[in-house]
Amino acid sequence: MLLETIDLTKSYERRGERFYAAYNVALSVESDDFVCITGQSGSGKSTLLNLLAGLLHADSGSILLDGEDLCKLNDAGLAALRGSKIGYIPQGNSLLQNFSVLDNVCLPWYLTRKSNVRAQARELLARVGIAHLERENPASLSGGEARRVAIARSLIANPSVLIADEPTGDLDPKTTDDIIRMFSEVHAQGVAVVVVTHEREIPSFTTKHYVMENGHLALQ
């Protein structure tokens, strides 16, 4: 098992009332899985992914990545994981506007390491089909192009699992197809993928489909 959650629970408080954005969630991802998670807006999908990436602290339960419990790691340990084993693509346009496309791709590497990584970054940009845009500022990119940069960025440290939050959320059908194909290529290279997406966009090669509803996760 690559990634597994056991009774993972996260609650928030709103107007004095506690509610569960994730409740006793059990998710399991093998290293060759392509996992899709669907669910209505507000059902807790992003909360779950943030927990998986160690960005949020769970109330209870555990997250095992390669047998290591993320809930027991400190901030630096979690950050190191996000810069290595986990490739994370946040919801929406997540490129940093202050940096060129190429620098955006390099950034996760530079945040934790000292060696140069430009050659690999260029290779990744070529793989997602936008090598010619490396010097551009992210503000000048289209939605699909920006998503490709984010995918390249998430792969710079050779992660074992790629976690993407609605990567096709605001894209037109044609671009959505392109991006999904890109995920399938990543998957084919041996990276496990966990992606939050829409019901109608679930690709045929999906190995597991979970549905989230009011913080409860169920395997379809």
Binding site: L55, L56, R82, S94, N98, Y110, K114, N116, R153
Partner: protein
């Protein structure tokens, strides 16, 4: 870009360049604060230096001047403002009979300020080398020879050099020496021996028609002031009282140097106090405003920081980025402020002295450099200090994980 530390710097610089307007505002704020704080500190040191200089320069215990001179003797002393007042020799001789006087030396003042026949506007001070015990020591410390007849020694602010000629009442007087800076009126004065002074006063009368001398008196009959030292063991104030009471019906007043010094020092202490409070307030204000700016910026940058965290930045890294940004901006501001101080305060220090109307002796270059460095650093640290608030918030804020768009 490569390496952990370099990425911090690069991210910080990227953020600064991206938010240019905010960056310029912060740099300006700190530059102005630095300018005020450094300039104010320089001013404080200059004023203190001035009073110290008075202390060192008031070589006589007391000074006898005409009572009608009012406070203008103080002006002559501190700012070199024009003073033309005269005592008759007869009066002076009687005053000097007073018990307790150890030594005395007369001086004669001539002002060229209101004459069309002089090349520059200066206060001329004639001293008597035979009896003088005040000016002569200054000449010695400045390694200046005593001026002979028709020769002058100039104060530090007079824009001439040794060997130049100065035209006074159409006479050409040769500059034979220049005194060190005192921060007092002496910097704007010209020193001559008593014979030259009398000759100049005679010339003055020729040109000016209306004589400034007492009725019937000639240049030979007058002095402007007499400097006194009292005998050992005699109180200055008792001699002062004897003269002021004994010559009540004459136009005579005895002023103790200490009085001049004390009133100036008292004013100075007040000014320094106010200045210190003001400068501290400016500093705290800068920190306060910066803290607000950085905190607001932090709110606006939640998503940016959230993304950085999502791709592997530790909270510590984010903190380092915030502090680096603040340090860069405030460092630049402080540097700019110190630069402007150098551009303004040094070239115009003479103007500042004149405007202040009090003793002002700017700090020596080494002290000035120390002030610049310390004030610069003091202002530069406002940035990191103010950013600590936001840094603390980054450290404990879980919402940074909240990287929903918007």
């Amino acid at each position: 870009m490569s390496g952990g530390r370099i990425s911090t710097l690069k991210i910080a610089v990227g953020n600064i360049v991206h938010k240019r307007f905010r960056a310029v505002c912060i740099v300006l704020l700190i530059a102005v604060s630095t300018l005020l704080i450094t300039g104010g500190t320089m001013l404080g040191f200059g004023l203190t230096g001035g009073v110290k200089s008075i202390n060192a320069r008031l070589g006589a215990d007391a000074m006898v001047v005409p009572r009608s001179a009012g406070e203008s003797y103080e002006g002559a002393l501190l700012t070199g403002s024009p003073s033309t007042f005269y005592l008759t020799k007869g009066t002076v001789e009687r005053v000097l009979q007073t018990e307790g006087i150890a030594r005395s030396s007369p001086q004669l003042f001539i002002s060229t300020f209101d004459s069309a026949h002089c090349a520059s506007l200066v206060q001329i001070i004639g001293f008597d080398p035979k009896t003088d015990f005040v000016v002569t020591p200054w000449l010695k410390t400045a390694s200046v020879t005593e001026p002979g007849y028709g020769e002058i020694v100039i104060g530090n602010n007079v824009q001439l050099v040794v060997g130049n000629k100065m035209t006074v009442f159409l006479l050409e007087l040769e500059v034979v020496g220049k005194l060190d800076k005192t921060g007092m009126g002496f910097d704007n004065s010209v020193f001559v021996n008593m014979d030259t002074a009398k000759m100049l006063l005679t010339e003055y009368e020729k040109f000016d028609g209306a004589t400034p001398l007492p009725e019937g008196a000639t240049a030979e009959d007058v002095y402007s002031a007499v400097l006194l030292d009292v005998e050992k063991g005699v109180e200055i104030s008792s001699v002062q009282r004897k003269i002021n009471l004994g010559f009540r019906d004459d136009d005579v007043s005895c002023v103790a140097s200490q009085t001049i010094l004390e009133s100036t020092a008292k004013n100075l202490n007040l000014v320094i106090g106010v200045l210190t409070v003001l400068l501290a307030a400016i500093w705290f204000f800068a920190v306060f405003v910066l803290a607000i700016i950085f905190t607001l910026a932090l709110n606006e940058r939640q998503r940016e920081f959230g993304i950085l965290r999502a791709i592997g930045a530790t909270r510590r890294k984010l903190t380092a980025i915030v502090i680096t940004e603040a340090s860069l901006l405030c460092g630049a501001g402080a540097l700019a402020g110190v630069g402007v101080v150098c551009l303004i305060v040094f070239p115009y220090s003479t103007l500042i002295e004149r405007t202040l109307k009090t003793a002002y002796l700017p700090p020596q270059s080494l002290v000035a450099a120390a002030i610049l460095v310390l004030c610069g650093v003091g202002c530069a640290v406002t940035g990191p200090l103010a950013s600590l608030f936001s840094a603390a918030r980054i450290a404990k804020n879980e919402a940074l994980a909240n990287i929903q768009e918007g």
